[in-house]
């Protein structure tokens, strides 16, 4: 168990990233995909990492797993502390002992992340046979039990199925069974439900939640779906272009978003309650990883940007355990508060007229 304890939540810290920097050195230049990311994950809790494509959320996860292709990728700075040990300093052989056993990962694509020429049973058993001293028969028994636990009907037969015999939702269940085979302390879930239908997504999230409660696993949930974050996460990190824009517990982030990017992101999702009208948009698009601007990386799309934004904004504590990296978050908040008030007033007027 961890030696560190966070005073706020009283739960031990399983994973801590300190100023992690993962860069890719390619012919086109240096892509600073992850550039100074810090966060903590506590035992039995879920940390959500949100952001648009290219913000570095998956590269962060791959860095933790030690799965960054080298070259061109390289962890150029920072620490990945897993139960006090810095994973960036370990050799490949030492990492292999941890990977799969202590830290497991669920990938986005259940269609492509299973090996099509092995049965699902073999793939689940491989994990156990590699990491634990058990016989093949015992491993098979445990694989069947795991399949049952993740809700696959008639697991005794399904264990000998190949991935192509299964639907997307079933394959994702197999992925989960595989990742849980050695009861890891930390589970990295990279968009685990993005490729699934909404009713199947509900089943899978429910399952992950149940298994987390039983096993007290720490989960890093990487997603772009703010709905999934709201329903599953305890803490949230919002990433933009390789930087952390804002981090907080899920309630303060959703009720009191402070970074102009976070606010805009929330405003641009179509609402299930409200109706019609124009959606709020963020002008422009995410800059390319090869030429991120100096300082704040959101400045080109930010209506509040000034010259000051050319220097990297520090992490400021807005309220306890709620951090934002923006020079102008106060202005942004004040501005959007006024806008919202105006909109509400208009709506009341409209309703009155009707």
């Amino acid at each position: 168990m961890s030696t560190e304890t966070d005073t706020q939540t009283e739960k031990p810290v399983v994973l801590e990233l300190k100023n992690l920097q993962t860069h890719f050195f390619t012919d086109m230049g240096v892509a600073r995909s992850v550039d100074g990311v810090s966060y903590k994950v506590h035992e039995g809790q879920t940390l959500g990492v949100v952001g648009e494509s290219g913000c570095g959320k998956s590269v962060t996860a791959l860095s933790i797993m030690g799965l960054i292709p080298r070259p061109p990728g390289k962890i150029v700075g920072g620490e990945i502390l897993f139960e006090g040990r810095d994973l960036t300093k370990l050799t490949e052989a030492e990492l292999r002992k941890i990977r799969g056993k202590e830290i497991a990962m669920i990938f986005q694509e259940p269609m492509t992340s299973l090996n099509p020429v092995y049965t699902v049973g073999d793939q689940i058993m491989e994990m156990m046979l590699n990491h634990e001293d058990i016989t093949e028969l015992e491993a098979r028994e445990r694989a069947i039990k795991l399949l049952e636990e993740v809700g696959i009907p008639s697991p005794e037969e399904r264990v000998d199925n190949y991935p192509h015999n299964m639907s997307g939702g079933m394959r994702q269940r197999v992925m989960i069974a595989m990742s849980l085979a050695c009861s890891p302390k930390l589970l990295l879930a990279d968009e685990p439900t993005t490729a699934l239908d909404v009713t199947i997504q509900a089943q899978i999230l429910d399952l992950m939640n149940k298994l987390q409660k039983e096993r007290n696993t720490a989960i890093v949930m990487i997603t772009h779906d703010l709905g999934v974050v709201a329903e599953t996460c305890d803490h949230v990190v919002v990433m933009y272009a390789g930087h952390v824009a804002e981090k907080a517990d899920v309630f303060s982030l959703f009720e009191n978003p402070c970074h102009p990017y976070t606010i805009a992101l929330f405003k641009s999702i179509p609402d299930l309650v409200g109706k019609g009208g124009r959606l709020f948009t963020i002008d422009g698009m995410v800059p390319s990883a090869y030429n991120f601007p100096e300082g704040c990386r959101f400045q080109a799309r930010c209506p509040f940007a000034t010259e000051q934004c050319n220097t990297k904004p520090p992490m400021e504590e807005v309220e306890p355990e709620h951090f934002v990296a923006c020079h102008h978050w106060r202005e942004a908040k004040a501005y959007y508060a006024k806008e919202d008030a105006k909109e509400d007033a208009q709506q009341v007027e409209q309703e009155g007229a009707e």
């Binding site: 648009e52 239908d197 909404v198 509900a202 959703f254 299930l272 109706k275 019609g276 948009t281 698009m285």
Partner: protein, 328 residues
């Protein structure tokens, strides 16, 4: 968006649309069954209206859109549009008819020809339909690019030089180039990031106002569909199970499948914990759908009546609100 469109005669009337895909197996490719991808679908689409079509993968929503444009040949049915039955048109007639109906595809990465410049992707449609040639064509293509929020100077570039959102704008420019009155948006914003998705949805709505377009908006993201649609059809295994005005559907879903589908949407509100209906099992195989109501094996309220006979038919239960369920 229109509100009074329901009173006018529908612009597109679809009756009994069926699309069965045969399955051939074995050495002699003998017929082993059929996939009833779309089974007996009837609905109307009014002018300037957006009809949302939602459902899980494999429910046939894409097949509906493609058969209406005759990109795949329907097995049976009628689709009356501008006084003609789309399904009866001959090859040359169909080609000129396509001016009136267009499609925006899901994947902006694979739906644009990588060897064609943006100018020819948009301009070819204009030329083939005899609308413009040469310099005129060039100018019109540029205008269209500006209209969808891109720079006119992009006209000589190739698709790989653009981001996903920009490519989707190019796909939209191509679709509206011929001033169609009916556009099928097949998961048109599904592949885009949230902030870019909002831009493209706004663009679609602006174009609808400007060109008086009718959209058939096919998507699996229920909050996007709600935002953009006037009416929504919910599909399950090739059939419409519920069809209603947008607000009514979300406030008062009647079919148990619609109820489960709506309750499964994760909402970006951490304090609101919903009583979620979690469906058991998965969408059954459409080659061999369950007898009776196709939904009964997953339905929380199914009775003996649901397990036998033919699937329940879509019937009107309130003004503009139809449901296919024995128990409603």
């Amino acid at each position: 968006m229109s509100t009074d469109s329901n009173n006018s005669t529908p612009m597109l009337q679809v009756r009994g649309l069926k699309k069965y895909f045969p399955i051939y197996k074995g050495l002699f490719r003998s017929l082993k069954g059929t996939v009833k991808a779309v089974d007996d679908l009837s609905f109307d689409l009014h002018a300037k209206e957006t009809l949302g079509i939602v459902g899980e993968s494999g429910c046939g929503k894409t097949t509906v859109g493609r058969s209406l444009l005759r990109l795949i040949e329907p097995t049976d049915g009628e689709a009356h549009f501008m006084g003609k039955d789309i399904f009866q048109l001959g090859a040359s007639e169909l080609r000129s008819f396509r001016k009136n109906m267009q499609i925006i595809f899901q994947d902006p990465y694979s739906s644009l020809n990588p060897r064609m410049t943006i100018g020819s992707i948009i301009g070819d449609a204009l030329e083939l339909h005899g609308i413009a040639q040469g310099d005129d064509k060039f100018e019109m293509s540029k205008e269209l690019l500006v209209k969808v929020g891109l720079q006119a100077s992009y006209i000589n570039r190739y698709p790989h030089e653009f981001s996903g959102g920009q490519r989707q704008r190019i796909g939209i420019a191509r679709a509206v180039a011929l001033h169609p009155s009916f556009v099928v948006c097949d998961e048109a914003v599904s592949a885009l990031d949230v902030s870019v998705q909002a831009q493209v949805i706004n663009l679609l709505q602006d174009l609808q106002d400007e060109y008086d377009l009718s959209y058939m908006f096919i998507a699996h993201d229920l909050s996007v569909v709600k935002h953009i649609s006037d009416r929504i059809a919910v599909m399950y295994l090739g059939r419409i199970v519920e069809l209603s005005e947008c607000d009514e559907l979300y406030k008062k879903p009647l079919h148990p499948y619609t109820q489960a589908l709506l309750s499964a949407i994760p909402e970006p509100k951490p304090r609101r914990k919903k009583d979620r209906i979690i469906l058991r099992g998965e969408v059954p195989n459409p080659i061999n759908p369950p007898k009776g109501c196709h939904f009964h094996p997953r339905c929380p309220i199914a009775t003996a009546q649901c397990k036998i006979g033919t699937p329940p038919v879509l019937r009107e239960v309130g003004p503009g609100h139809s449901v296919a369920c024995h128990l409603v």
